[in-house]
Amino acid sequence: MPGKGRSLKKDLKKMLKGKAIKKGRKAGAVKPARKVIDHDRELCNDCGACVSLCPATVMWLDKRSNLVVEKQKCIGCGNCVDACPRRALSLD
């Protein structure tokens, strides 16, 4: 029944926002599932193929055209991973 489904969804949202989950996150027991980008500097040859693909502008080429990856800003979309010709990017 559509009405019942909606209420279940609401209940689930309520539960996920619940105090128990918040407490668990603070204590480190519940970790966010999101993965962030890992950049292997040894493999990377600074081509920059990933730069235009990142919606969060996590990576860019600096003045010397070396790739800079600001891992903390990563939203974990993985858009760049399969675009790296050297397989220097992975979600970790």
Partner: protein, 395 residues
């Protein structure tokens, strides 16, 4: 320095003499732009003998010839693989050619992270790693053996030389995608609805854009190739002089190319790297640098071109046809800025050529010349100045 009536500033012989005596003035293409800006073209031409260029990117028409020596009893190899990548054996008994884009057989599906091919084998060889070899041949009276299985490394082989039929493209297309789905191409990942645009030359560092009419580059020109010394052996495949030029006289679409060779054993894995273009295939990223001698003011004018002078056409790779529609023309200065405009929309850009590694190529070549390890060789034969790239003529 000579400055005769013909406008010649110096000869190859004079430059090589200065290299031998340690008096040569050699700078990279980027450093030359600063010198010209600071001192003016006349002073720059008088001051500098040689300008080094460099590029580093995927160059699919690449590969290596190997001679692995004779077994006892000997075998005439007709089919072989290296690290399970098929190699071409239609040559003499133990000669083979490994092509950069040859893929290891097997279903890839969505698992492109497992893609492995000729470019990766060449990188493994140049790293000095053991490579699995499997070879077979029909026994003959002179070659009785039918099978070889084992490992081989670069130090074990007799000859190993890179032979690349097409490298160092003089300019290339800017690729974008108008369709509603992501495309995986040899020009990288192209997001839907003009989500991004990729380009692929080193711009103001690029060898053939710094001597656009190839006055100093021809058969016999010594070059930097893959971290070692190589040589130009002819016009590359798809060599094309009949392309459109911009107002600076520079081609705006893919034009001239070089066929090159060099000893793989003297090369470095820093400048020869296997690469994977997801959904398309594998290739070899090659570092290639050419020294440009400043013989006269015309050559000086060529090396003075900046990213703002070099332009390229934008093509829609969503159109699956040989002649894709052009969506406009942009300069490398715009491409390097991180975004361009297509149909009034701001589109982010990515290079596929590593400018940082291209700079390293030019810098390394400069060091070799400055320390007397690398002499310049004039072309033994000029490359054609009247060559058209024809479409497929199969009937």
């Amino acid at each position: 320095m000579s400055d005769d009536e013909s406008g010649q500033l110096r000869t190859y012989e004079e430059i090589n003499e200065r290299i031998r005596s340690g008096k040569v003035v050699v700078v990279t293409a980027e450093e030359m732009l600063c010198i010209i800006e600071r001192n003016g073209p006349e002073d720059a031409a008088e001051m500098v003998d040689v300008v080094t260029t460099g590029t580093f990117g995927a160059m699919c028409s690449s590969g290596a010839f190997l001679n692995i020596g004779h077994s006892d009893p000997p075998i005439r190899i007709q089919r072989a693989t290296l690290n399970r990548v098929p190699v071409f054996c239609g040559l003499a008994a133990v000669d083979m050619f490994i092509g950069a884009t040859e893929l290891r057989p097997g279903p890839l599906g969505k698992h492109w992270e497992d893609a492995y091919g000729g470019g990766h084998v060449i990188e493994a060889l140049v790293k000095g790693e053991d490579v699995d070899i499997h070879a077979e041949g029909e026994p003959t009276d002179c070659y009785p053996r039918s099978k070889v299985d084992g490992k081989v490394r670069l130090a074990d082989v007799n000859q190993a030389y890179i032979y690349n039929p097409r490298n160092a493209y003089q300019n290339y297309a800017v690729a974008t995608n108008s369709t509603g789905r992501t495309l995986h191409t040899y020009m990288g990942k192209l997001l839907p609805r003009f989500g991004n645009a990729n380009f692929a030359t080193a711009g103001h560092m690029s060898p053939l854009l710094k001597d656009p009419r190839l006055r100093t580059i021809g058969i016999g020109t010594r070059i930097f190739l893959g971290g070692g010394v190589g040589m130009v052996i002819g016009e590359g495949t798809q060599f094309n002089t009949k392309t459109q030029q911009n107002s600076k006289g520079l081609p705006i679409t893919p034009s001239r190319t070089l066929a090159v060779t060099g000893d793989l054993r003297a090369m470095s894995p820093r400048f020869l790297q296997g690469v994977t273009m997801t959904g398309y295939g594998v290739s070899l990223a090659v570092g290639l640098g050419v020294p440009i001698p400043i013989l006269d003011m015309d050559i000086l004018a060529s090396v003075a071109t900046t990213d703002a002078d070099i332009s390229a056409r934008i093509f829609d790779y969503g159109v699956g046809a040989r002649s894709r529609p052009s969506l406009g023309e942009v300069t490398y200065e715009q491409l390097r800025s991180g975004s361009i405009e297509i149909d009034g929309k701001k589109v982010r850009t990515s290079p596929l050529t590593s400018l940082s590694r291209s700079r390293e190529v030019a810098e390394q070549l400069k060091q070799w010349i400055a320390t007397g390890q690398f002499l310049l060789s004039p072309p033994a034969h000029r490359l054609p100045d009247d060559r058209e790239f024809k479409p497929m003529g199969v009937r």
